[in-house]
Amino acid sequence: MNAIAESNHSVPESELWESFKRGDEPSFKAIYFSYYAVLFQYAFNICKDEQMTSDAVQDLFSDLWQSRRNLGVVQSIKSYLFSSIRRRVLIKLKQNRRKQVLALEIFTLHPDIEFSQEMIQIREEGSFFRKLIISEALSALSKRQREVIYLRFYQEIPLKDVAKIMDINYQSAVNLCQNALKALRKDAKLLRVVSGELSN
């Protein structure tokens, strides 16, 4: 982590945001360094295209700086940025699809989040088989359930903010989360792997 970003960690988010809006470059830099990696990860997980991801993240921060004076109060910088990057990447994906002349396709795009084995944490390092089981269990969830799980548990974003990011109402986010967890706890292979981890 960059020194400036670290030094700003003690600053409350609201102050950091207000300071950035006033044009304070160190605050902007702190925000950039704090969220670049997670935004990149999220955007890449949506579009699976490194160049598109990189462009989208840079566009987001460039526009953020240019329009800083017009920005409102945000409760959570992370949620705000996630919401913005999600919208941007989905728009880019739709534009790309149009370019590919898939005219008959109905554009009801939802992010197709994948939980790679590198993302999954288990106690026994290098256990390919165990990671595979967990990865498969998560892949069996619906796209929207996967995204809720990703945002809630991988990115540790509260459900009320997850709802805003996904542009759905809070109850829908709660339902998606509950159904996803219900599906997971019915996956015997998954539970066996996790209980095996615990007993090791």
Binding site: I4, V38, W65, Q121, L181, L191, E197
Partner: protein, 339 residues
């Protein structure tokens, strides 16, 4: 959805599973005691939650630094392109009143915005200013010239300076925290000059131009893809069609003391004096203007200022008197005449 399903997706249950809150742990222990028939479901739900342990993304700081630099460069370029191309002064007299008012307001806004976030240096008529930046880079501002740069210049990942007028930059090499070269960018209202470490002159007046004395610079016309990599001794200017042109190659290379040698190529004593002042930090005085116009070519082997003085005395047939902080140049002829 059952009440238990809701509870098992709650923050409270997560806190219990991850042992984050004593209160929630106590609640769930009590709940299990009160509802033993649900214990199996709760255990499964806990295992499902425990499967959601992830490794956070790790991106190397240098990678982010690189992208941060690119972002800064992009933001500055966009901001610069939005800046007015020429001062408003000339137009104000001839425009209608309401246009004048708008221009004045814009000018006030422009100046205010610069003053709040930028440091401004300017010279008046018949003034010259030598300014040394925190990284020891130097700019010599000619008369009626203005530069400005960010207040956070020394910590910015790219060193940026805006110039309106005429100036000569001597840029020192510098690196970022990750060891990558720290770029130095000079903006005029029409050009972007990208540098790492070098000496060059910029003129934004009648014929906007850049002359490279040593090192390497890239010159780009703002708002166009046209870009030139200049070699030492080359000059690029903007022609009437608003295009970059390498209009001339200077025959005379700037003086430098390299490996104990000074390569003189039809250089005047005036130029050599300026070189001594810059290189050795000592003032050179000479009352005889005609003496200063004398020129010489050739390679001088000099290890020190004293060597150079001795060589110049012989070549130019002059007397150079050295004190702690200055050199006085005079001619030998006076003595000869007395004879």
């Amino acid at each position: 959805m059952s009440k238990l399903d809701k509870l098992l997706a709650s923050e409270s249950f997560l806190n219990y599973v991850l042992q984050k809150s004593d209160e929630d742990v106590a609640f769930w222990k009590q709940y299990i005691q009160d509802h033993p028939e649900q214990e199996d479901t709760i255990e499964r739900a806990a295992l499902a939650l425990l499967s959601l342990q992830f490794v956070r993304p790790s991106v190397e700081t240098p990678y982010i630094e690189t992208h941060w630099e690119q972002l800064q460069s992009r933001i500055r370029k966009e901001a610069f392109q939005e800046m007015p191309r020429k001062p408003f002064y000339a137009q104000i007299y001839f425009k209608l009143t309401f246009v004048s008012l708008v221009a004045v307001l814009l000018l006030v806004f422009y100046l205010t915005s610069i003053q709040t976030s930028h440091l401004v240096l300017s010279t008046g008529l018949d003034q010259q200013l030598v300014f040394t930046f925190q990284d020891d880079s130097e700019v010599v501002l000619e008369e009626n010239t203005k530069i400005h740069f960010s207040e956070t210049w020394s910590t910015d990942t790219v060193r940026r300076v805006w110039i309106d007028g005429k100036g000569k930059f001597s840029v020192t090499k510098s690196t970022n925290l990750d060891g990558t070269p720290k770029r130095f960018e000079v903006y005029t209202d029409q050009m972007l000059i990208e540098v790492i470490g070098t000496v060059f002159s910029v003129d934004t007046r009648e014929e906007p131009s850049v002359i490279l004395h040593s090192g390497h610079v890239d010159v780009q016309l703002i708002g166009s893809e046209q870009r030139y990599a200049l070699s030492p001794g080359q000059k690029v200017h903007i022609d009437q069609q608003n295009k970059l042109q390498i209009s001339s190659v200077l025959t005379k290379t700037p003086l430098s003391l390299t490996k104990g040698q000074v390569n003189l190529s039809n250089h005047s004593l005036r130029e050599i004096s300026a070189f001594i002042e810059q290189t050795f930090g000592i003032q050179v005085y000479c009352k005889d203007e005609s003496l200063l116009e004398r020129k010489v070519s050739g390679l001088m082997n000099v290890e020190s200022l004293d060597d150079l003085i001795a060589a110049l005395e012989i070549v130019f047939k002059i007397k150079i008197h050295k004190t702690n902080d200055k050199l006085m140049i005079s001619t030998f002829q006076k003595t000869n005449k007395l004879k």
